[in-house]
């Protein structure tokens, strides 16, 4: 007979494992991935492949040779980072820039802090923001979806950037919408017929993934829904005050990577708070800061910065937002 195994209780384990959680996130990202392939064609395939493979390779190399630990790429977290980074990039980005972004995402965003679980900031966003600051021109020249490409226009700005530009020139929102190539219909933004980064364009595909994550209990509703709510409330108030100057809340929700950020980036386990209460504070902060940047800041899109900013506050939130003890005496 083999030796008996002795361990303290419990002796059974639930269905969760790091690998399974990561795999579910990848599955949830698939619809949006397919949509991006459809709208941006082979270029998109190239960006995703370069980004994912370089993230995995960098993670392996750093773990193997710099940290001298057993490489843990089988937990699939590097693939998630690579996918999310790719989703945040325009499809016409040169390969070397993507590789540089991956190196920053994995190296600076994750490994310098000790690898998975120890990074204070979302690695994919660190990579993205690094590229946005280092190569602003390449990073904001958005190729149009293949269905919108005409012989004389292959690139264009995102809807939010067009509005920002128009507002700067003293136009009202209705005038901007009328003078633009876009139809600005909610329907088109829903299924992705707009300019933008790979993953942000199709709201429907992203929401499909959100549903999957909820069903598989990978994430809870707290962060995404609170972000949506705070965005709607804040931007809705502004819109009611002056509809000519401020964009309506639904438009805010559907553009500028709002759903991508709220569902996939802000909910990153490592960089979000530990309690539901904390998550709500964190998410409300993201929503408000995003709208502040979008309406009053110089960037047309503010999701990445808002998430990174709130990431920095997570330790503080964790310190003050503790769960309520059973039978706690006030």
């Amino acid at each position: 007979m083999n030796k008996l195994i002795i361990s303290p209780s419990p002796h059974v384990h639930g269905e969760f494992s790091t690998k399974r959680l990561m795999r579910d996130v990848i599955i949830a990202l698939l619809p949006a991935l397919l949509v991006s392939f459809y709208f941006f064609g082979l270029e998109a395939v190239k960006v995703v492949c370069v980004s994912v493979s370089s993230c995995v390779v960098f993670e392996y190399l750093i773990q193997r040779f710099l940290l001298e630990t057993t490489p843990a790429i089988h937990d699939l977290s590097a693939i998630v980072t690579g996918l999310l980074l790719a989703f945040n990039l325009p499809s016409n980005l040169p390969c070397w820039i993507i590789v540089a972004g991956s190196l920053v995402a994995i190296g600076v965003g994750k490994m310098v802090f000790g690898g998975l679980g120890n990074n204070p900031f979302n690695p994919a966003l660190v990579g993205r923001v690094f590229l946005l600051i280092a190569r602003p021109v390449e990073m904001t020249t958005w190729p149009l979806p293949l269905t919108l490409v005409t012989p004389d226009a292959t690139t264009g700005a995102t809807p939010l950037a067009i509005i920002k530009e128009g507002l700067k020139n003293g136009l009202t929102i209705d005038e901007i919408k009328a003078s633009s190539d876009y139809t600005f219909s909610y329907f088109e933004t829903l299924y992705g017929q707009i300019g933008g980064s790979l993953g942000e364009i199709s709201a429907i595909a992203l929401l499909l993934g959100f549903g999957y994550l909820l069903v598989r209990k990978v994430i809870t509703w707290h962060i995404p829904i609170t972000i949506f709510l705070s965005v709607v409330i804040f931007s809705g108030t502004l819109h009611l005050i002056n509809p000519d100057r401020f964009i309506d809340p639904v438009f805010h929700l559907l553009t500028g990577g709002m759903i991508l950020g709220a569902v996939y980036m802000a909910t990153d386990y490592v960089t979000s708070p530990m309690t539901h209460k904390g998550m709500i504070v964190f998410a409300a902060g993201i929503g408000i800061i995003t709208i502040l940047i979008r309406t009053f800041g110089s960037y047309p899109e503010g999701m990445s910065f808002a998430i990174l900013f709130m990431n920095a506050l997570v330790p503080l939130i964790n310190k003050y937002m503790k769960p309520k003890l059973f039978g706690e005496i006030k």
């Binding site: 030796k3 008996l4 195994i5 361990s7």
Partner: protein, 295 residues
């Protein structure tokens, strides 16, 4: 243009003076008067902050040394007599000199000597393991080998031998701070006198079971047969609960007990090799000895 620069200079100058004044006043008002001998004593102490003295760190120990009049009972195991004498001179107080000590592991139940009968699959911690059950061998007293002593040692003086799966003490690094003694849930590690030329004899077993039970669990268990007590001419061996203990204060290191022990559970360290006749018996001992003897 000139006036802009001038204004800036004046503004900054005034600011500097005002802030300097504030800093000076605050520093004076909240000045903490501290006995400067505390700093002095602390600088003599080794600064290991190991807690071996019984205080929370070298600073706390230094404060106590300065504040207490009679410091004869206090000792810094890391610094040893040399440091304590220095401190005594510095503070004009008297101290007692102590024999320098080192940690010894009183278990020789290596994988070979002691059959593993089950496998532990919980957290890698002796404390967790000891709280779960009696251990992965038949000997409920023996070393669990999960290395709690290793992780608490500030000096890297204890490590797990990968073949015996038992901790071994590097005597040159060991400062006898006692952290490992406290960390061991089975109370296996003991601080013993280093002895002349680092020569020591001790019973490397703490099994309190009856001889037959102990022997069945481990080949090198002390079975409490009292052969060593009979052999000892200095009455330094006490047998209690089927377990021998050698009193380090009485032991004269004659090595007679080592020869008579039927299970080889008495360990001698750092002695020169014996005459060939007796060496046959010595092979029974675990390899801790053979290694150190050749040194």
């Amino acid at each position: 243009m000139d006036s802009t620069i001038l204004t800036a200079v004046i503004m900054l100058g005034v600011l500097a003076v005002v802030l300097a004044a504030v800093l000076y006043i605050v520093a004076q008002k909240f000045k903490v008067v501290e006995d400067e001998r505390i700093d002095g004593t602390e600088s003599i102490l080794p600064g290991a902050n190991c807690g071996g003295c019984g205080y929370t760190g070298c600073r706390a120990f230094a404060e106590t040394l300065v504040k207490t009049d009679d410091i004869s009972g206090m000792f810094c195991p890391v610094g040893g007599n040399a440091i304590m004498t220095k401190i005594a001179e510095y503070l004009n107080k008297t101290i007692e000199s102590k024999d320098s000590e080192t940690a010894v592991v009183r278990c020789a139940g290596s994988c070979e000597n002691r059959q593993r009968i089950n496998e532990f699959d919980g957290a890698t911690s002796c404390a967790v393991m000891a709280a779960t059950y009696s251990g992965d061998t038949d000997c409920p007293y023996g070393c669990l080998g999960k290395g709690d002593c290793v992780s608490v040692c500030n000096f890297g003086a204890i490590y797990i031998n990968s073949t015996t799966m038992l901790p071994e003490v590097d005597e040159d690094k060991c400062t006898a701070c006692g952290s490992c003694v406290k960390a061991c849930p089975k109370l296996i590690i003991e601080l013993r006198k280093k002895g002349p030329k680092s020569r020591r004899i001790y019973v490397s077993c703490i099994n309190k079971d009856k001889g037959a039970v102990a022997r069945k669990a481990c080949k090198v268990a002390c079975i409490g047969c009292a052969a060593c007590r009979k052999a000892c001419t200095f009455e330094s061996i006490i047998i209690e609960n089927f377990l021998a203990y050698i009193d380090p204060n009485k032991c004269r290191l004659c090595r007679k007990c080592v020869e008579v022990c039927p299970t080889g559970s008495i360990t001698e360290l750092n002695f020169p090799p014996r005459k060939p006749k007796i060496e046959v018996q010595e092979q029974k001992q675990d390899n801790v000895n053979s290694e150190t003897i050749t040194n």
